[in-house]
């Protein structure tokens, strides 16, 4: 870890700790969980060059599995989330295996289609999933601790969320992550160097699915509710939107994007019932004007401010 990474880490954890104090805690919870979801998308898109438009499948599968486990067996929520991760990864394996047979735009369409398939299947399995009613009354359980208020659950779930971020960070900065980037930049070359590129892509897909599953599990338990909305294709689209808005290939950009989109939707929800007008327009503007997203711009601003500060200090000392 470089000094910059440590500084970012401290700032990130600091923000995560005070977030429920600044905003209301339900919104804070939404932001950190969607940020983790966006990071899972960025892991594939920014580092593997794979645009998954079907990550709602893993977010939703994790959410439903965790909700059902917590409700049926009265499990503590970390265990239910573990179950959610397992189900999401088990689902990501076959979907990933099929999807990596195509590249680029086809990959996006294939993942989108499989996620929609899961949407229909979950809708039809009414006995298990409650169909359009979803799974309601999911308990939030942690032995010895009361999780009645949303802010209690926020702080109880935060360590798991941070572990999720840390896993993503470790993946990206490991030898595995470097191979993934080389596949993104030139798959034929990586292959020629002897890397089994398909296997790398599949492993990345399953890991990313697991992280999305963790985020979805906590989201469903935190809301005491798992619904078809979790699996809808606009959910996948929102995660992609956040990633692109923040800046792909940065990991923390997903967090910036999630915060902006959710704060905007929250303040707009009292004004309009059609937030797609705003989010759609933002996406169009970003793609046309800031293809690298906001994170690089923020980074440049921070670097400039730092340089300015040092110049001022040097001038004062001289």
């Amino acid at each position: 870890m470089t000094r910059r990474d440590i500084a970012l880490l401290v700032v990130g954890i600091g923000i995560a700790l005070v977030l429920p104090r600044v905003l209301y805690s339900a919104l804070a919870l939404r932001i950190v969980l969607w940020a983790l979801f966006a990071v899972s998308v960025d892991l594939l898109l920014g580092y593997g060059g794979m645009l998954s438009f079907g990550h709602a499948a893993f977010w939703g599968a994790g959410g439903y599995a965790a909700a059902l486990l917590a409700k049926a067996y009265q499990l503590p929520f970390p265990l239910a989330a573990l179950g959610g991760i397992a189900v999401a990864m088990a689902l990501a394996a076959p979907i990933g295996y099929l999807a990596i047979r195509r590249r680029g735009i086809y990959f996006a369409m294939v993942t989108l289609a499989f996620a929609q398939m899961l949407f229909y299947v979950v809708n039809e399995l009414r006995d298990l999933t409650g169909g359009e009613n979803g799974v309601q009354g999911v308990p939030k359980i942690l032995p010895g601790i009361s999780l009645g208020r949303t802010s209690d659950f926020y702080y109880a779930a935060l360590p798991l969320v941070l572990i999720g971020f840390f896993v993503a960070y470790r993946i990206v900065h490991s030898p595995f992550g470097h191979v993934l980037v080389s596949i993104r930049d030139n798959e034929a070359r990586a292959q020629a160097l002897g890397y089994p590129t398909q296997r790398y892509k599949l492993i990345a897909f399953v890991l990313s699915g697991g992280i999305a599953g963790l985020a979805g599990s906590l989201f469903a338990i935190g809301n005491s509710f798992a619904s078809l909305e979790l699996l809808h294709w606009t959910t996948s689209g929102s995660a992609v939107l956040m990633t692109v808005l923040g800046g792909m290939g940065t990991l923390w950009g997903g967090g910036v994007g999630a915060a902006i989109v959710l704060l905007l939707e929250d303040s707009l929800s009292s004004v309009t019932e059609a937030p797609g007008i705003v989010t759609g327009a933002i996406l169009i503007a970003i793609v046309l004007g800031f293809r690298r997203g906001l994170a690089p711009a923020l980074h440049t601003a921070a670097v400039l401010a730092w340089a300015r500060l040092r110049a001022m200090r040097a001038a004062r000392e001289a």
Binding site: L51, L98, A99, R101, R102, R103, G104, I105, Y106, F107, A108, M109, V110, L112, A113, F114, Q116, M117, Y120, V121, E124, W233, T234, G237, V240, L241, V244, T272, E273, A274, P275, G276, I277, T279, G280, A281, I282, L283, I284, V287, L288, R291
Partner: protein, 291 residues
């Protein structure tokens, strides 16, 4: 098994296939010249239906004129979008235009929802086609037979336009070697816009055809576009014949599958896609990987 039900499902499958074919055909020709997969294609289909609805409500213009006017109007809108937005992203990774059109789809759907509400608006079946006709053991609405026949006709006409006319020749040349075609003194950009307009017009036409059968609603295209993507993955975007054949084939197979379990008609489409990805990942009709 009830033979009457099976034959009704066969025709229902052809009707669904007609919509898949028109939509994937439009996607394919747009992809052919622009290398853009238009995520907003379902929203364009919805706009086509609304255009027909508004023509009837506001100007008392009926189905037959709307069948011509609505696609032209929506296609002109498409031209503006192509000139103002899509054009800026040519030469970049096609994923950017995919994202752009996704944003456009969200925008259009919610804008229409804000204006017309989530509820569907009814659209009358034209009088000439409102009867039912007996087909062996069952009777079937004439309008649906018309949809099958008319979309087949449009598909053949589009195929002829692209494969057998001078305009098509220019377009195909521009698709394969844009630089060389320019060097021969042909204004490629103008033709690109024209082909984009045709692709958009086809989606809007599908919307007009859908109006009397399905409710005219802001979200009517939102699930259809994903099913169409599955069709496109199966057929490949590389060929017109492939797009149309895959459209009809999948419509029929899914409907016949629904004879056994009606709940899973849409799931069958995606299952077929999974099988094709396993057996022939490049798509049924494409000679080369066009990723």
């Amino acid at each position: 098994m009830d033979l009457g039900y099976v034959s009704i499902q066969l025709f229902n499958g052809l009707v669904n296939g007609a919509f898949y074919a028109l939509l994937s055909l439009g996607l394919a020709i747009i992809f052919g010249v622009l290398r853009v997969v238009n995520f907003a294609h379902g929203a364009v289909y919805m706009l086509g239906a609304f255009a027909a609805y508004l023509l009837l409500q506001q100007f008392d213009i009926g189905f037959w004129p709307a069948l011509v006017l609505a696609p032209i109007g929506v296609a002109l809108l498409g031209v503006v979008v192509e000139r103002l937005l899509l054009r800026r992203l040519y030469g970049l990774d096609p994923l950017y235009n995919f994202l752009l059109t996704f944003g456009l789809a969200l925008f259009l759907q919610d804008a229409m929802r804000l204006r017309f509400g989530i509820q569907g608006q009814p659209y009358p079946t034209p009088d000439e086609l409102s009867a039912s006709v007996s087909l062996g053991p069952v009777s079937y609405p004439v309008y649906r037979l018309f949809v099958i026949a008319f979309s087949l006709l449009i598909c053949v006409a589009t195929w002829y336009l692209i494969e057998r006319t001078r305009l098509g020749m220019v377009v195909r040349a521009a698709t394969e070697r844009a630089e060389l075609t320019r060097a021969l003194g042909i204004d490629v950009d103008r033709w690109v816009t024209a082909v984009f307009a045709i692709g958009i017009g086809l989606a809007a036409l599908a919307g007009v055809l859908a109006a009397p059968m399905r409710n005219v609603a802001p979200l009517m295209g939102s699930e259809l576009i994903i099913l169409t993507f599955a069709v496109v993955v199966i057929g490949g975007l590389g060929s017109i014949v492939g797009a149309v054949t895959a459209g009809f084939l999948i419509g029929v197979l899914a409907s016949l599958g629904a004879v056994f379990n009606p709940a899973f008609e849409n799931v069958i489409v995606f299952a077929l896609m999974a099988v094709v990805l396993l057996v022939r990942p490049a798509g049924l009709f494409s000679s080369r990987e066009a990723a």
